[in-house]
């Protein structure tokens, strides 16, 4: 797909002849597809940068996207795709920024006429295709890294450990509990137990949509690990359907205390630590 020296020369000539007109037409073609979501000036700047990078590579040697001297062109293309991906443009809208050059080339070549126009156009077209594919790949890479970042942030967000009382911490679990999350929850909880030297932890599963044997296994492991470190765990927030599922699946929580609500769990812990709750005096009075 790389252009040979002669073709590169002609390609550079096409781009240089009326450079102003080429970038103008190119910008117009792209702007049409982006429907005004990017400012004309910004787009113009990007196109001119791309145009300049293409010319620089053309001057330095045969036009080939994989060549060493094309590093700048690749950088410009990569930058363009990253910007588009971050701004939420689709893959088509990103690739069209490059493919629009084809229309412009066709216009210019037609105007020039002469021998070998078609052959040149096909060769140039090949190069532009290559550039388009490169754009697409950069776009996908950026999107993938965005998704990975978001997944990580979600993991961070979804596993807070809160201090409920002196010596009592709670983990409100929200969402499906898979192995990766269970691991994060376990590590976070155990570390908090050490940091705050809390002998009691409440695991609240109100926000867990379903409890199967695997989820139960994860919770049990966390409880056993906490016990090894010298802290006791209470499981709370078991909804009626979940209780039925647990029994139906034959999951045994053994001697681990389970409570229906977080309030019950806290009251249970406070009673164990000997803290008087306000409930009893009020009832007496």
């Amino acid at each position: 797909m790389a252009l040979n020296a002669e073709e590169s020369g002609r390609f550079a000539a096409v781009l240089t002849d009326g450079a102003e007109k080429v970038t103008q037409r190119w910008t117009e073609a792209v702007a049409g597809s982006l429907r005004g979501r990017l400012s004309q000036a910004e787009l113009r700047r990007q196109i001119e940068e791309l145009h300049r990078a293409l010319l620089t590579v053309g001057e330095q040697g045969p036009l080939d996207l994989d060549a060493e001297h094309a590093a700048e062109l690749r950088a410009v293309l990569g930058e363009l795709s990253r910007d588009r991906a971050r701004q939420g443009f689709s893959a088509t809208e990103t690739a069209i920024s490059v493919f629009a050059l084809k229309d412009v080339l066709l216009e210019v070549l037609e105007a020039r006429g002469g021998e070998g126009t078609l052959r040149d156009y096909v060769a140039f077209s090949g190069l532009i295709d290559q550039m388009g594919l490169f754009t697409f790949e950069s776009y996908v890479r950026t999107r993938e890294s965005l998704i990975a970042d978001q997944a990580e942030q979600l993991l961070e967000l979804s596993t807070p450990v809160v201090k409920l009382w002196e010596g009592v911490v709670a983990v409100p679990l929200v969402g499906t509990l898979d192995s990766a999350r269970a691991q994060v929850v376990m590590e976070r909880l155990l570390q908090t137990l050490v940091d705050t030297s809390s002998p009691y932890a409440i695991i609240d599963i109100t926000g867990v949509p379903a409890v199967d044997t695997q989820v139960a296994q994860h919770i049990l492991k966390t409880v056993v690990a906490a016990r090894l470190m010298g802290a006791d765990c209470i499981i709370s927030g078991i909804r009626p359907q979940i209780a039925q599922t647990i029994v139906a699946l034959g999951i045994e929580f053994g001697d681990i205390a389970t409570k229906a609500s977080l309030a019950d769990a806290l009251r249970h812990v406070l009673r164990l630590t000997g803290v008087e709750t306000a409930r009893r005096p009020r009832r007496e009075s």
Binding site: M186, E187, L190, Q191, L193, V194, S197, S198, P199, K221, V224, A225, A226, R227, L228, M229, G230, A231
Partner: protein, 141 residues
């Protein structure tokens, strides 16, 4: 050969393991500890494993043995300061250190031993021997 020091704090013996345990060190520790419990008449042993990065089945068995020995000599054993990573590894390995009491840190361990001791006295010798009531009875006449 490295020896693990045994410190006496009040009624409690504190063993802080700072070195990698070998067979020899473990045996020596068991021997030393048994002797010290008898010599001092201590009723509690705290084993601090804060410094241990790795607790394998060998160390686990050593802890169990020490707990059993102490139990025979009427001393309560508490393992304190286990790191989260160690706890997770033990759970993944399926080692649950049955019969060993644990606490988060030395302070909690001492509280645990004091509570267990109070319970023990309360059950075996009647309420009169427990610390608080003891003071009252001597104070009242």
């Amino acid at each position: 050969m490295e020896r693990v020091p045994i410190l006496k704090i009040g009624d409690i013996l504190l063993v802080s393991i700072q070195v990698d345990m070998s067979d020899q060190t473990a045996l020596q520790l068991q021997e030393d500890l048994a002797e010290r419990i008898v010599a001092t008449g201590s009723h509690g042993v705290i084993i601090d494993i804060t410094a241990l990065d790795i607790v394998d089945s060998f160390v686990g068995r050593m802890l169990s043995t020490i707990a059993s020995i102490s139990k025979v000599l009427d001393a309560e054993t508490v393992v304190v300061g286990m790191r989260p990573a160690v706890a997770i590894t033990l759970v993944e390995l399926g080692l649950s250190l049955n019969g060993i009491r644990t606490a988060l840190n030395v302070e909690r361990g001492m509280e645990l031993i004091a509570a267990a001791r109070a319970d023990d006295l309360g059950h075996s010798d009647g309420v009169d021997d427990a610390g608080d009531t003891d003071v009252e009875t001597t104070a009242s006449p």
